[in-house]
């Protein structure tokens, strides 16, 4: 059934030119639904329209239909983009086409042979010497030119290959670089600020790279207490705390105490944050530790 459908009719259907003719439109869509071969032909006509659109060979009216109707679905726009990328990528690749470069020369040689064997009159300047001499000169010139062109072609291919290799190498280096960047970043907060102080003065900066997954936070506490501290991470913007927990301090042999915990890097956006630490004793004294998160785009 599929082969009976004219590609031109399918084209009209795909460009929406059949939408006013309900019977024809229904018949076509019914056939496509029932016949997978026809569906494949329709897909190839779709590709053909995309190619012609990209080549700029469509009539202005058809082009208008392509833009106002055919290319409306996102899937077709992606297809268009893919064909464009593929075309650019492959058009730059040199391909040797068997037989084609010698066509012109073959034709001339054939004509020369025909004339020779048909005994056609040859003028004095077209005597054998001149004919063979000029043919020989053309052949020599052709060979030299072909050799030179081939050399240029080879150089171009080698340069294109080098460029492609360099690009691939650069992507691989970028990947390696991102792997080398640490996945865990440590943020040490040692000095609390009075609540009245300006937030942006001299606060630690936390750099979150593309490969950062976790942030280990260490907060030095001045009056070590054995019971748990209430810790809340607040964004400078209003809203619920980004993170909250009750934590017991780690106390070293010489009496230094730290609260240590880790956060997911995804929880942080660029901006200023305050870590609100409430001491369990000393009337619930609250200390604020500020830092600014920097997330590269």
């Amino acid at each position: 059934m599929g082969n009976n459908r004219d590609r031109e009719v399918i084209r009209k259907y795909l460009l929406g030119h059949m939408d006013q003719d309900e019977a024809a439109e229904t018949s076509m869509s019914d056939d496509i639904l029932a016949d997978d071969n026809l569906a494949e032909i329709v897909e190839s006509v779709e590709d053909e329209i995309i190619e012609e659109y990209l080549e700029g060979t469509l009539d202005p009216d058809i082009r208008k239909s392509v833009e106002g109707y055919f290319l409306q679905p996102a899937e077709r726009q992606e297809k268009l983009r893919f064909v464009q990328i593929l075309d650019r990528h492959l058009a730059a690749k040199p391909v040797s086409l068997p037989g084609s470069p010698a066509t012109v020369g073959d034709k001339r040689l054939k004509e020369a042979r025909t004339r020779r064997f048909s005994g056609e009159h040859v003028a004095w300047w077209g005597s054998r010497f001149w004919v063979y001499g000029s043919v020989a000169a053309m052949v020599v010139f052709g060979l030299v030119a072909a050799g030179y062109l081939e050399l240029l072609q080879r150089k171009l291919t080698a340069l294109q290959d080098d460029l492609r290799q360099e690009k691939l190498h650069s992507v691989s280096l970028t990947n390696q670089l991102s792997q080398l960047q640490p996945a865990i970043v440590v943020l040490s907060l040692v000095s609390a600020r009075p609540r009245s102080a300006s937030v942006r003065e001299e606060i630690p900066h936390l750099k979150i790279g593309p490969s950062t997954e976790r942030i280990v936070v260490e907060v030095a506490v001045e009056h070590p207490q054995t019971s748990a501290y209430q810790v809340r991470l607040e964004s400078n913007e209003a809203g619920a705390p980004v993170w909250a927990a009750k934590l017991s301090p780690i106390v070293s042999a010489n009496g230094d105490a730290r609260l240590v915990f880790d956060l997911s890097a995804k929880a942080l956006r660029p901006g200023v944050y305050s870590l609100r630490v409430s001491e369990p004793e000393r009337n619930g004294t609250v200390n604020y530790y500020d830092f600014e998160a920097e997330v590269p785009k």
Partner: protein, 197 residues
Amino acid sequence: MNRLKRERSLTAESFGRFLRWLSGDDEEAVSQYETIRRKLVRYFIHKGCTDPDELFDETVDIVVGKIDAGEEILNPLAYCHGVAKNVWRQSIRKSRTVSQSREFPSPEPEDWTEHEQELLCLERCMNQLTSEEREVVTRYHTSRGRERIEARQALAGGKSGANALRIKVCRIRKDLRLCVIDCLKRTPGAGSLEAEG
């Protein structure tokens, strides 16, 4: 985005009822659903619809309503197609007032690293083709202008082979596109092509 819309429009309950209606056997029901979905989404794409997935969900919702009303349906695909046609006609009535001018995606990459990744995937996928397929698609896209026309004529082996060549290239390109999408999905941080299949 489409998946989110689908969730919003087609509820799990109606989806389940639709599957049960297609077949009592889970595997068979899913297979029939996939076929109906693929064909109807393609139908809506052919009709130039901006959101084929949403229209498909709308179609299924209507069909589920009909099933619940006790309508006897013999051929699910044909019935769904009939409903899809009405959904499409309604959608064009609704969208008539909406301007259709829009910008199409530019091949100029915004993110060069991502583009390089795309080219890397393309190269990988090209290498997965058979040597014959690779040769066909490379020669089909080679150079420009007159040289390209000659290359395509040579590939088609005459005028009669032109349509067969177009279908062949269409198949290869589809495989390549799906392969690149898959490759980009596996590459963290990359991926700009999306497809229905």
